[in-house]
Every structure is written in structure tokens, then in C-alpha cells.
């Protein structure tokens, strides 16, 4: 009897040890990859032309928006199909304010973020009452409404034609007109946003989000207010879309309603899923697969979307956790094999 129980104890110890080493290896591997990617991104302007830099800027801006959606979907556990609309609100708000009043770019960006946060919190209210697919439809409807307003209120938005010749700003007296300078601006913003996101996920807020996602009833019985945290998640998630929108406008130097349509919101959602929702690395990977990979493989956009959507469907069938979920999955397989050997 005692023999048996000590045997079990040993095997449990063995299993946790194996898990420890394999997770440590994975973490070190992750840090090494991260370091390589950051160094590569820092030196990218030396080796890439202006088109390559534009793509990397595009990747950075989209990643910021997808991080916001990942907060809503992956951490707060609510579905949203309006992220592109918030990006549009951000892009139009900042552009119209800057063009109309000649205000500083940063003031425009911050105003766009605040507007998006307020509207995002408003959209969070239905999220309190309904869940799952109903919320998907409310947000989807909201996205369509925003596009209708952008298209029809042409005294402000210039209608379906959109706003052309948006200037790239200077920040701190430093012009961002050149592709490499604008790229560094996007890269810097991406790092700032990612650090803030990482900090928040580890803060009590982040833990509250996860608790509400995994077991809302229990979280509430422990005194967490679903109302507050859902609204906070929507406000911050939409605010990040606002930042991305305010960066998108000077990046492309042109905005029109179609760029922020439902189609884009659906793609954002797929990017979150491909990367793995509820992980910090997820948005980077998801946007990489959606924006950078097709260019390197020299696919045209239409053709690539077909492959991308097939890829998403297969991924969902085989890895419901997304690409970032493959690591932990392998780790689990690896440690469970070790466990078997130990027993």
C-alpha cells in the first residue's frame, strides 16, 4: 500500500519536473525568437525598400487593432464584429480634427482614441445583456451602421469617395514623411501598446478578465463586477482600434468607408483566431499570416484570401486554440509522453 502511494508520488513529481523543463525550454525558445524578430524589425529599413517598409508598417498598425480585439475576445470572452468600424471612427475622427482645426497629430490621435473608447463602452452595454451569437449580430449591425454614416454624411466625410491627400505628421519637429521614419513610428507605437497590454494582462484587471471569461458565475460570486470589467474591455479594445485608425490614415494617406467594412472586421476576427485568442503573441502571429505571408509568397490578395480562409477552417478543425496554441499542445503531448514513461 505504502509502496504504491510513494510510487504514485514519484511519478507525479516526475511529470511536473518534465513539464517544468519542457515549459522552460519553450519559454527560452520564445524569448530567443522574440529577440531575433525585434532585431530584424529594427534593422529592416536597411534592407527593405519603401514598399516592404509600408507592409511592415501596415502589419504593425493592424496588430495594434487586433490586439484590441484579442482583449475583447480572448481575455474578456466576448465576440465583436465591429473592430474595423472602430478603426474607421478613429481614422475619420483624427483626420477630420487635424484637417479641420490644424491641431497637433498627437492631440488628434488621443481624441480619436477617447471617442472610440466612449463608443466602445456604449457597445459594451448590449454585451452585458446578450451573449454569444446575439452579440456577434449587434456588433455586426453596428459596423454596418457606421459605414452607412461614413458613406452618406458626405458634407463631413466626403462620402464614398473618401478623403485623399492626408499628410504624414511631424512629431516633436521630426517629419515622418519618409517611409523609414514612418515605419519606426509604427514600430515604436506597436512596442508601447504591446508593453501596456502585457502589463495590463498581468495586472488584477487582466486576471479579472480571464476569470469572467472562464467562469462568469463564479467570478461574480467572488465579487467581480461583470458590468465594469466588460465595459472596460470593450472601451480599451475599441480605443486600440482608434489608435490604429489614427495611424492608418497618414500611413495610407487616404481613407474611404469601404476600408472599414464588415469584410475587414471578419478578417480581424480570423486573425485573432489564427494567432490564438487569449495569448499575447497571438495577434502578431495572426496578422503575420494574414498580411505579410501572402506578400512574401507573391500571392495576389484575392487568391490569398481563398487559401487563408481554407487555412483558418482547417486550423479550427485541428487546433481550436490557434497557431499560438500549437506550442502548449506539443508541450502537453511531450509531457504526457514523459508521464507515461515515468509510470
Amino acid at each position: 500500500m505504502t509502496d504504491k502511494s510513494s510510487n504514485i508520488d514519484q511519478s507525479i513529481q516526475g511529470a511536473t519536473l518534465a513539464e517544468d523543463t519542457s515549459s522552460r525550454i519553450l519559454r527560452i525558445l520564445g524569448l530567443v525568437i522574440l529577440a531575433i524578430v525585434i532585431i530584424a524589425l529594427l534593422f529592416a529599413p536597411k534592407y527593405l525598400g519603401s514598399y516592404g517598409l509600408y507592409l511592415l508598417s501596415f502589419w504593425a498598425v493592424t496588430t495594434i487593432a487586433v490586439q484590441g480585439l484579442n482583449l475583447v475576445m480572448g481575455y474578456a470572452g466576448k465576440i465583436s464584429l465591429a473592430q474595423a468600424a472602430f478603426m474607421g471612427i478613429g481614422a475619420y475622427t483624427s483626420t477630420l480634427l487635424i484637417q479641420g482645426t490644424g491641431m497637433n497629430y498627437w492631440v488628434g490621435l488621443v481624441s480619436a482614441t477617447i471617442v472610440c473608447m466612449l463608443i466602445g463602452a456604449l457597445i459594451g452595454f448590449p454585451a452585458l445583456r446578450v451573449k454569444g451569437h446575439y452579440l456577434a449580430f449587434v456588433t455586426l449591425g453596428f459596423n454596418e451602421l457606421v459605414i452607412l454614416v461614413l458613406r452618406n454624411e458626405d458634407q463631413w466625410t466626403n462620402g464614398p469617395i473618401g478623403i485623399m491627400n492626408i499628410n504624414r505628421p511631424s512629431i516633436f519637429g521630426f517629419s515622418l514623411f519618409e517611409a523609414d521614419r514612418f515605419y519606426y513610428f509604427c514600430f515604436g507605437m506597436l512596442i508601447l501598446v504591446s508593453l501596456a497590454m502585457g502589463y495590463m494582462i498581468r495586472s488584477p484587471w487582466g486576471r479579472a478578465f480571464k476569470a469572467l471569461r472562464d467562469n462568469p458565475d463564479r467570478a461574480e460570486s467572488l465579487g467581480l463586477s461583470t458590468t465594469t470589467y466588460t465595459l472596460i474591455a470593450f472601451a480599451i479594445g475599441s480605443g486600440l482600434a482608434g489608435i490604429a485608425g489614427a495611424m492608418h490614415a497618414p500611413m495610407v494617406e487616404f481613407i474611404d468607408p469601404q476600408s472599414f467594412g464588415l469584410h475587414r472586421s471578419l478578417l480581424f476576427l480570423l486573425m485573432v483566431m489564427v494567432g490564438g485568442r487569449g495569448t499575447l503573441a497571438g495577434p502578431f502571429i495572426g496578422v503575420f499570416f494574414a498580411i505579410l505571408l501572402p506578400e512574401w509568397l507573391r500571392f495576389t490578395e484575392d487568391y490569398y484570401l481563398i487559401i487563408f480562409s481554407i487555412f483558418v477552417i482547417l486550423l479550427i478543425i485541428f487546433f481550436p486554440q490557434g497557431v499560438a496554441g500549437i506550442g502548449p499542445y506539443l508541450q502537453k503531448r511531450f509531457s504526457s509522453n514523459q508521464q507515461k514513461e515515468a509510470i
Binding site: Y134, F137, N152, I313
Partner: protein, 292 residues
């Protein structure tokens, strides 16, 4: 007044087609818990298959519809269920939502690749003549569309309520575990629902494509309208989705004429948001019980 009646008729006629799409959508949800985000694309693609067959084989609209129907049943009924729904349904509705969104994009971009991005003319099933009587004018094509849609809806209702298979399907929708205990082949019932949905979207494609032109992104609008009809009316009842379809069609037409034609799609969306906020089970639906 005459204009109002005319608008109402046109609204009811398009609403009847929305109802066909919405009923199929609600049926899938009830029997299998599938929320099909590709429903709009399921209407768009058969339109193109019909057009393709007409030009390839040089046949008329009706023969091409007859050939398209079994193709649709196979693609959007059988294959859709076997390849996508069966492997995913056990993970709950969320992965399936993502997968059908992916499927929608796949169908849309695939159509764009094959048929191009331009809108293509699609022949009308009936010649559009305006009938005048007692001071009102009504379009014959609206009347015919309404007639066909209503006939299909009545047939479907009879099938669901009066036949053994139909009643077994309802039992499956209400409680699949009990249905299984009673000896109903649940999987077969779900397959029949998928086939019915495929038939409904193909008929809808035949009826609605002429007024939209066949275009690769038609599915976005049609899908949204069908979702709205299903939710506004009540997701968990066929009757709800039906009435929702008519309501959306009428609201869209009246709103476009009397308030603003640019904001045509805004009226159903506002109604949708109000319904979800204040009566999420739909105007005619039953409240869904909360687990825990």
C-alpha cells in the same frame, strides 16, 4: 395611400424571400445549434451556378434551376454538414461561428476569382408588368414572388407539423436526447434540416438575384438581412423567423421611401439592436433558459 399600398406589397414580396433564407437559418440553429455565417453566400453561389449552367449548356432559367437544386443540396446540405459541422459541433457554437465566417470568405473570394467582380445580369422569372385596379398599382412580379414564397412556406409548415419526419425533426429540435431515446435517428433528422436549408437558399437565389444582379458580395447584405429577420422574429421558432422576414422587408421599403433611401439598411439594423436590447428572444420567440 396608393403609393403606401404599393410599397407595402413590394416590401412583403421581398420580405417573403428574406423569410425563406431566415427560416433555413433558424432551422439549422434549432436542430443542430449551427449558426451559419455563410448563409448569405449560400444564396449568392447558387445564383452563379444557375447563370453558369445557362451559358455553358445554353438552357433556360427553369431547367438550369432544376439542375442547380441537387448540386446545392449536395454542396450546402450534405458536404457542409459532413465536412464542417460534424467535426466542430462538439466544441460548442464558437468554433463553428469562426469556421462558417471562414467559409463565407472562401465562397465570396472563390466566386470573385471565377466569375469576376462585376455584377452580372440575371433574368427575371416573371415579366414585370404593373397591374392597375381600383386606383392601386401592383407589380405582377412582386405578386408572383410572394405567391411562390408563400406556397413554399406553407408546404414547409405542413411538412413540419403533419408528417412523421417533420414531427421527428421538431422533437430533435426541442430535445435531441429524448428524441434519441424515442428511437428517432437524430443524425438523419439533422441532415434533412441541412438539405431543407440548401433547398430554401436555392429557391431564394432564383427569386432574389434578379433584383440585385448576380455579384460576388451579395451574400454580405443578404446574410445580414436573414440574420436580422431570424433574430427580430425569434431565433428559436420557425414562425418567428417567418414574421421577422416580412417585417424586415416592409420596414426597409417604407423607411427607404418615407425617411431616407440612403439609410435603407439602417432601419432593420436599428430594429435589430432595439430587439436584442429589450427582447432578446425576439418579438415572437420564447425566452431561452439560462443554464445555471
Amino acid at each position: 395611400m396608393a403609393i403606401f399600398v404599393q410599397l407595402l406589397m413590394a416590401g412583403i414580396a421581398t420580405g417573403a424571400i428574406y423569410a425563406l433564407i431566415a427560416v433555413g437559418f433558424a432551422l439549422l440553429w434549432q436542430t443542430s445549434g449551427t449558426i451559419n455565417f455563410a448563409q448569405g453566400e449560400f444564396v449568392m453561389v447558387p445564383g452563379f451556378i444557375m447563370l453558369g449552367l445557362m451559358t455553358l449548356l445554353g438552357i433556360g432559367l427553369i431547367p438550369s434551376f432544376i439542375i442547380t437544386l441537387p448540386i446545392s443540396l449536395f454542396l450546402f446540405g450534405f458536404l457542409f454538414k459532413r465536412l464542417l459541422v460534424d467535426p466542430l459541433i462538439k466544441y460548442g457554437d464558437f468554433p463553428l461561428v469562426i469556421a462558417t465566417i471562414g467559409l463565407g470568405i472562401l465562397l465570396k473570394e472563390g466566386t470573385k476569382l471565377v466569375a469576376g467582380a462585376r455584377g452580372v445580369f440575371f433574368p427575371e422569372l416573371f415579366p414585370d408588368k404593373i397591374l392597375h385596379f381600383a386606383g392601386f398599382s401592383v407589380s405582377t412580379s412582386d405578386l408572383a414572388l410572394l405567391g411562390i414564397a408563400v406556397m413554399i412556406i406553407i408546404a414547409l409548415q405542413l411538412f413540419l407539423n403533419r408528417t412523421f419526419v417533420g414531427r421527428s425533426m421538431q422533437a430533435t429540435a426541442q430535445n435531441s436526447d429524448v428524441a434519441r431515446i424515442l428511437g428517432i435517428d437524430v443524425d438523419r433528422m439533422i441532415l434533412i434540416t441541412f438539405l431543407i436549408n440548401a433547398a430554401l437558399v436555392t429557391v431564394a437565389a432564383l427569386l432574389i438575384t434578379p433584383s440585385y444582379l448576380a455579384k460576388f458580395n451579395n451574400g454580405e447584405t443578404l446574410g445580414l438581412l436573414a440574420f436580422m429577420a431570424a433574430i427580430v422574429g425569434g431565433f428559436n421558432q420557425v414562425r418567428g423567423a417567418l414574421i421577422g422576414g416580412f417585417l424586415i422587408g416592409v420596414l426597409e421599403n417604407l423607411g427607404a421611401f418615407y425617411i431616407s433611401s440612403q439609410y435603407r439598411t439602417a432601419f432593420p439594423i436599428i430594429l435589430l439592436i432595439l430587439v436584442i436590447l429589450f427582447k432578446p428572444e425576439g418579438i415572437f420567440g420564447r425566452p431561452e433558459e439560462r443554464r445555471i
